[in-house]
Symmetry: C2
């Protein structure tokens, strides 16, 4: 009979690494990316010591990784009254990453639009304007989808 505990551990570990690999192209450092994968599997907020042990990273790394995720609003810090202990869990607003993307899309659209004012050939200026429109439209579509989804969820 296989050792269930170890098998589960192995699967979870694999999940953590897989998620980390996906987050890496977004520029998320390894420690933070793995932490996110781990948090996804945690039913309750976890302490830095638990993180340190599970992920086998130093406590300082755990600390900076956790705060990095918090700054991305991918994780949330749950402080307990009566102690300094910090507990971290995945943020329950899933659209954080999407919102982040949208901000960038927005900035890019703005910049492209600014380019239309430059002393460039008309064809170039038109292309820039078109690209700006395109990015704004997709951004809006995403924002719409997100708010529709949120409304749908509330109703359940």
């Amino acid at each position: 009979m296989p050792n269930i505990q170890n098998e589960t551990d192995r699967d979870e570990q694999r999940f953590v690494e897989d998620v980390a690999r996906l987050l890496a192209p977004w520029g998320v450092p390894l420690a933070a990316a793995r932490l996110y994968g781990y948090l996804l599997l945690c039913p309750r907020p976890v302490s830095l010591d638990q993180i340190t042990e599970k992920l086998e990273i130093s406590k300082s790394s755990a600390s900076v990784a956790a705060r990095l995720l918090e700054s991305y609003t991918l994780a949330r810090r749950h402080s307990e009254p009566g102690t300094k202990r910090a507990l971290y869990a995945v943020a329950d607003d899933y659209e954080a990453m999407i919102r982040q993307q949208n901000r960038l899309l927005d900035a890019l659209a703005g910049q492209l639009n600014a380019g239309t004012e430059l002393a460039v050939p008309k064809a170039v200026s038109e292309r820039l304007g078109e690209m700006a429109d395109f990015y704004r439209i997709t951004r809006d579509a995403m924002a719409d989808a997100v708010s529709r989804w949120k409304r749908g969820r509330r109703r359940q």
Copy 2:
């Protein structure tokens, strides 16, 4: 009377740097990001030598930057018959970046879904499933918006 040529150059240079700054958070290296900004302003495909001169980077950097943009499908290589010269221009399918994002979103959704099969508490499994749904929905919304936009453009 101000020197028109220099003023234009200065504005364009500024545009290039601004675009580069926006692309940086996406993990695009500086040289490639600046090249993209420059290509946005070019009415015609440009050669590596022109890039080298305008952006004041080495030819090797120009070469790798251009091919990097091409691999992102942000730029397109236009080869001329009868010579080895490579000319680069921005890709005219603006949705390349969006599609790229969507691929990542898709992969993440898939991974989250895989997590629901793990031996984790029901609440965790449900959360993972919900997140996967959410990402898939926003991805679909974006894809829809893109194809609607494309249809609209064709008709003009």
